[in-house]
Subunit: 120 residues, 2 copies
DNA sequence: TGCTTATATAAGGTGCGACGTATATTGTCG
DNA sequence: CGACAATATACGTCGCACCTTATATAAGCA
C-alpha cells in the first residue's frame, strides 16, 4: 500500500500531526481526534492500526496504555516522491530572485522617485 | 478536497509522474496510463479532470489536442505539510553519521575482526 | 477473585469514488 | 457540409474504506 493512500485520510493526517510533537497514548488520541471528527474510539483505534501496519507509527506499552510515536520512514518516501517536482517551485523562486535583482538594478540605475535626474 | 486525497490514487500519481518530464496530450496519457492500469480513456479523462479541478495540472489547447502540464502549487503544499517531520530523518541521518564515526573510532582502537583477540 | 479502565478486534451497514458503456462536444480535413 | 479524430461528459454499477455497536483482551486494583 502506497504511503499516499494512508495520508489520504484526514483523521490519519491529524493523528500524525498530534504525534509530530511527541508520544501520545491511544486514549489521548481517541479523545482529541474523536471529538474533532465526531468519531468513536474504535474508529480511531482502527486508524491507529492502519498507521502501525504501514510503518507510520510505532507503539510502546506502558502498563495498560499504548504510547504511539511517529515513524517517519514512509514520510521520507513521500518526500522522495516529491523530488522531481521540487524544481517547479524552486525554479520559480529563482526566477523571482532574478526578477527582484533586475528591479533593484534598474532602480539603482535610473530611479526618478528617489534622487536621480530624469534628463541631466 | 485535500491534496493528499488527490495523490491517494495511483493512476493520478502516475499521470503526474509522466507530466514531470514535460507536457503530454490527453491521448498520450490515456494510452500509457490506460494500458498500464487496464482502464478506459474516459477513466483517464476523469482523473485528468480531478487533477485540473484541484490545481495539479493545467491544460492548453492545441488544435483538437489538449496538452497537460504540471502545476506544482498543491505539491508545494504537500511539501510544506511534511516540514514538521523532516527533523525525524535529518536527525536520524545525523545520528547515523555520529554512529559511523563512533564505529570508525572503535575499529581503529580495537578491531577484533582484523587482528584483535576474542578471549585473551 | 471480581470490577474497572484502556485498548483492540469482530461483524455488519453505508456512502462514495472509480470504473465502463454510451454519447456529446469540438476541431480538422476533404 | 459530412466524416473522422480527440477529448470530455452522463449515468448507472460495484467494491471497498470507514463508520458504528458489541465484544474480547489484558492490566491495575480493592
Amino acid at each position: 500500500m502506497h504511503a499516499f493512500d494512508i495520508l489520504g485520510d484526514p483523521v490519519r493526517r491529524r493523528i500524525l500531526e498530534l504525534l509530530a510533537s511527541g508520544e501520545r497514548s491511544a486514549g489521548e488520541l481517541a479523545a482529541v481526534v474523536g471529538s474533532e471528527f465526531g468519531i468513536s474510539q474504535p474508529a480511531v483505534s482502527q486508524h491507529l492500526k492502519v498507521l502501525r501496519d504501514n510503518g507510520f507509527a510505532t507503539v510502546r506499552a506502558e502498563g495498560t496504555r499504548r504510547l504511539y510515536a511517529v515513524d517517519a520512514e514512509p514520510l521520507r518516501q513521500v518526500d522522495e516522491w516529491l523530488d522531481p517536482y521540487r524544481r517547479f517551485w524552486t525554479q520559480r523562486l529563482d526566477a523571482l530572485a532574478t526578477e527582484l535583482a533586475r528591479g533593484r538594478r534598474e532602480r539603482r540605475d535610473a530611479d526618478p522617485t528617489t534622487n536621480g535626474k530624469e534628463h541631466p
